[in-house]
């Protein structure tokens, strides 16, 4: 019986600890933030809490779709979230976002104008840019002697079994569409059919379709060519100096992660305070340093060391991104992408 009491005592202690933990949070206003994993400098959150005496409840998600499901199902009260471009378009369409009052975000002026009024939020009502990037080809300079400037190199038989493609239907189909000179938001079944043929043709040359492990494979020099996002390319090139990154001349994808206020928000004022805080030049610079992706904040760029801002991978020139496109929300057309991708994968 003694043991039983001990267990009960332990339980009571645990309960008390949990109560204390919950009790502390209730005195201050609470802000619920929903962000990608490892996508903010943790000290920035601490500084915000201290400056405004607001407690930040921070949670993380893995994909836009995960976040969408959580917000759509309700029952939670996230005040701030960080979806990507096409997901913002979808959420606006489905009336899941609140309009942000830009008067409460004076630091919005620090955002470079070329990142405002983008297709997914044409009037700048719902979102504030947080990070952006491109995707392109990373290659090993010691193995690939040809000039890499086109998607065509991924179809070159010389590099058979040394090429990695992304295991992601939208991105891989986009590569094939761009190679053929079509828009990557194409809804033309004939164009998509041709893109499928290209992917089928390419498949025997591939080493694999990969996900996150692409970083380790390229750093470990297991493959010579891979399709990756610019943010990851910066990290890979730092770990292995033989690597280089290009945005093919046919153009590629330009992506954005923006800050939004979902309709589940209970604390809009503090949410806007938080967004404004993230747009401050020094705070944006710290986040950029921590994450390693590209910031849309032009004042923050001035505070960052030249080594970061002059990196052509993270901050390509305007000509380089000229042919780049932002993904649209395909809506119900996503079924066609699913079909094509399945047909490619079963070949």
């Amino acid at each position: 019986m003694k043991r039983c009491y001990k267990t009960l005592l332990l339980l009571a202690i645990v309960l008390i600890i949990s109560m204390v933990g919950a009790g502390c949070g209730q005195e201050k206003p609470v802000l619920n933030v929903y962000n990608w994993g490892d996508y903010i400098d943790p000290d920035v959150i601490k500084d915000f809490e201290e400056e405004f005496n607001i407690k930040v409840n921070y949670s993380t998600f893995t994909t836009n779709e995960d976040m969408y499901v959580k917000l759509k199902s309700g029952g939670t009260s996230y005040d701030v979230a960080f979806p990507s471009d096409y997901m913002i378009e979808k959420m606006i369409k489905e009336d899941m976002l609140l309009k942000i009052d830009m008067n409460n975000i004076p630091n919005y002026k620090n955002i470079d104008d070329k990142f405002k009024k983008l297709d997914f939020d044409p009037n700048d009502e719902y979102s504030v840019p947080y990070m952006w990037g491109t995707f392109g080809i990373i290659y090993n300079k010691n193995v690939v002697k040809d000039k890499v400037d086109s998607w065509n190199i991924l179809w070159d038989e010389k590099y058979s079994d040394q090429i990695l493609m992304l295991d992601s239907q939208r991105d891989s189909i986009a590569v094939a569409l761009k190679k053929l000179g079509y828009s990557m938001n194409s809804k033309d079944l004939k164009e998509l059919g041709k893109a499928k043929e290209e992917l089928v043709k390419q498949k025997p040359l591939l080493l694999a379709y990969v996900g996150d492990e692409v970083k380790d494979m390229m750093i470990g020099e297991e493959a010579a060519l891979a399709v990756v996002w610019s943010g990851d390319a910066v990290y890979m090139m730092r770990e292995n100096t033989n690597l280089d990154y290009v945005i093919p001349k046919e153009g590629s994808n330009l992506w954005f992660d923006n800050i939004v206020i979902p309709k589940t928000c209970k604390n809009k004022k503090d949410a806007e305070l938080f967004i404004d805080f993230l747009c401050r030049p020094d705070i944006a610079a710290r986040n950029t340093k921590y994450i390693g992706y590209s910031t849309p904040n032009k004042e923050a760029l001035k505070e960052l060391p030249k080594k970061i801002t002059e990196d052509k991978v993270a901050y390509p020139s305007d000509e380089e991104v000229e042919n780049c496109e932002i993904f649209n929300d395909p809506g119900k057309f996503v079924k066609e992408y699913d079909r094509i991708w399945t047909e490619v994968k079963v070949q």
């Binding site: 645990v14 943790p42 993380t60 994909t63 029952g75 380790d216 470990g220």
Partner: protein, 267 residues
């Protein structure tokens, strides 16, 4: 002779298969690089950073809190449910047992979404409480299943004999039945505890803002690459489970000796 060697190789292969991933994980927790592919020299840096990482520590706190509470609650509920089921007549016992099997066989995702729908239906804000309730819900059937066999092994007349000798039913339950089925209860509690620690799907759907457990945190790192701090944390958890196991083994071997002695004394 050859037979013996083959046996040894076979055993070795099985253990290599089971433990090779864990060994690699432990080795790479000391790697001086964020990459998992390249060895860059020895470092303790990830262990130091782990201790400073509020997000991971908070997730660890919630994971353990939920695991302890949910295994305690579900063990309590499950044990008494098992005793009740055991005393039913054959027909209703069969029905109840089959109902009990359903959640075990059900895919996690179905349990997760249906629980979430239920919580939404009764207008419960998703958060710590809903996550705890969900974990209790999926653990109870396992406890029932691990306690029932012990009840079947028990001599039916023990409790009756105790009551014949003047014990109240409650006293007989506490002093006779529970000690007899204790191994089953402990097994059930351990199963509930481990199930709770490594659950992802059900937790993901049933948690709200600010409450995450380790599996959600680790999974959410996939986009930016899993942080080696996770390797460090996994190593620490593996070692603590190992130590716990050794202590329990030592204690139970002592206990069984102690049991023998007292039995002899009684004689």
């Amino acid at each position: 002779m050859v037979n013996k060697i083959i046996k040894k190789i076979y055993t070795f292969l099985i253990f290599a298969f089971l433990y090779a991933p864990i060994i690699v994980l432990i080795v790479f927790s000391f790697n001086n690089s964020k990459s998992r592919g390249v060895w860059n020299g020895f470092t303790m840096r990830w262990y130091i950073e782990l201790l400073k990482d509020q997000e991971i520590l908070k997730a660890l706190y919630y994971t353990i809190l939920v695991a302890v509470l949910s295994s305690a609650i579900s063990t309590f509920i499950g044990t008494f449910a098992a005793i009740g089921i055991y005393n039913m007549n054959l027909f209703s016992r069969k029905i109840v047992l089959n109902i009990n099997y359903l959640p075990v066989l059900n895919p996690d995702i179905v349990t997760a979404v249906s629980l979430m729908t239920l919580f939404r239906f009764v207008n419960l804000e998703l958060g710590f409480l809903t996550m705890l309730l969900a974990h209790v819900a999926f653990s109870v059937p396992y406890v029932v299943l691990s306690v029932l066999p012990k009840l079947k092994q028990m001599n039916k007349h023990l409790a009756e004999a105790a009551m014949d000798l003047g014990a109240t039913p409650m006293y007989a339950l506490r002093k006779v039945i529970i000690p007899e089925i204790m191994p089953g209860i402990v097994t059930g509690a351990l199963i509930a505890f481990t199930l709770s620690i490594d659950d992802f799907v059900i937790s993901f759907f049933n948690t709200g803002s600010g409450v995450t457990n380790l599996s959600i945190t680790v999974y959410s790192m996939a986009r930016r690459g899993i942080n080696p701090e996770i390797n460090a944390l996994s190593t620490l958890m593996f070692i603590s489970v190992l130590v716990l196991l050794l202590i329990i083994n030592k204690r139970s071997s002592k206990d069984s000796k102690g049991g023998m002695i007292s039995y002899e004394k009684m004689l």
